[in-house]
């Protein structure tokens, strides 16, 4: 698989991400409460594929370690926006974008 064939897809994704990252319409929901963090959690897919195709023992355990870290991070980034929030926000206005 030639990665160069995916370059147009990357440009398309960058354009989509740039236009979709509009200012947040809800001022009570700053960045860390939004679901943006779930996107980088796609790293879990790469870790799973690396673990699935691992040949040597060192590569396999390293990939399994990556799966463990990425699954912790993915559940954190998906689960935290589902929590109920404290009434006082300590984040400051700069994060309300």
């Amino acid at each position: 698989m030639n990665g160069a064939s995916l370059l147009p897809l990357l440009l398309l994704a960058c354009a989509a991400g740039f236009f979709a990252a509009r200012p947040n319409g809800d001022p009570d929901r700053p960045l860390w409460r939004a679901g943006l963090g779930a996107l980088p959690a796609i790293m879990l897919v790469g870790a799973v594929i690396a673990a699935a195709e691992a040949g040597s023992a060192s590569a396999r355990y390293l990939a399994l370690f990556a799966v463990l870290l990425a699954s912790v991070a993915a559940l954190l980034l998906v689960g935290i926006p589902e929590r109920r929030w404290p009434p006082v926000d300590d984040m400051g206005d700069e994060e309300r974008v």
Binding site: M1, N2, G3, S5, L6, L7, P8, L10, L12, A13, A16, G17, A20, A21, N24, R29, L31, W32, A34, G35, L36, G37, A38, L39, P40, A41, L44, V45, G46, A47, I49, A50, A51, A52, E53, A54, G55, S58, A59, L62, A63, L64, F65, A66, V67, L68, L69, A70, S71, A73, L75, L76, L77, V78, G79, I80, E82, D93, E94, V97
Partner: protein, 227 residues
């Protein structure tokens, strides 16, 4: 002149075999769900759509690859997911923003570990040339992914030490670019799409947050100090 559809765009061609319509549909469906999640990021629905997209992408990855160690992978997923779920549910409300920073640091470390595992096993992903060495293009992508992942983890650690969250969007952007670089090296369209979207969106949000901070500082009268 007829225009033929190239399945290589889907990034799911494995060992020279074109993807099945099911796998191609799963990749594209996951990418579409993640784009919808980014568009609806201000609402709780967007978070759940992103969860659905991520699960679909993981399912496509497991379905389309010849998995040799499924019990270990499932165990790591269950253990890691349990730890993440317990932390997300039990942690106090005032610590939740810092938990997001920790999650980005873990993603950066996971990117470093994944890139290193790919470098240790380049034959499985076709990253080598004739003599059996990693090609310069793939080596550059993997090194870039490892470096950006390490930088994101380091920045997240510095944010935890300095008790600031001014660069949260930029750290998330770094995690996204790591996924995009590794996806380009592996030829995985879902990682390229989601990583590119997260990277570009994080850069734009981080740039806007920086502009807002500067405007707020300019609005203060000269010589004023916070108590």
């Amino acid at each position: 002149m007829s225009v033929s559809f190239d399945p290589a765009w889907l990034g799911a061609r494995i060992d020279g075999v074109d993807p099945s319509p099911l796998v191609a549909g799963m990749w594209l469906g996951a990418a579409g769900l993640l784009l919808c999640a980014l568009w609806l990021r201000g609402y709780r629905t967007g978070n759940r759509i992103a969860l659905a997209g991520g699960m679909l992408a993981v399912g496509a990855a497991l379905y389309s690859h010849d998995v040799v160690n499924l019990p270990e992978i499932a165990s790591a997923l269950v253990i890691g997911g349990s730890i993440g779920l317990m932390l997300a549910r039990r942690c106090g409300g005032h610590r939740l923003p810092w938990l997001v920073v920790v999650a980005y640091a873990l993603l950066g470390l996971a990117g470093m570990a994944t890139g290193t595992a790919l470098l240790l096993n380049p034959f499985a992903f076709g990253l080598v040339d004739g003599p059996g060495r990693v090609t310069p293009a793939h080596g550059t992508l993997l090194a870039g992914g490892i470096a950006i992942g390490g930088l994101a983890a380091l920045c997240a650690l510095l944010m935890l030490v300095r008790r600031t969250q001014d660069y949260l969007a930029l750290v998330g952007s770094g995690a996204g670019w790591t996924a995009a670089a590794l996806g380009l090296a592996m030829g995985n369209s879902a990682m390229v799409l989601a990583g590119g979207m997260a990277g570009a969106a994080g850069l734009r949000l981080g740039w806007r947050a920086r502009a807002i901070r500067r405007a707020a500082l300019r609005a203060l009268p000269s010589g004023s100090r916070f108590p």
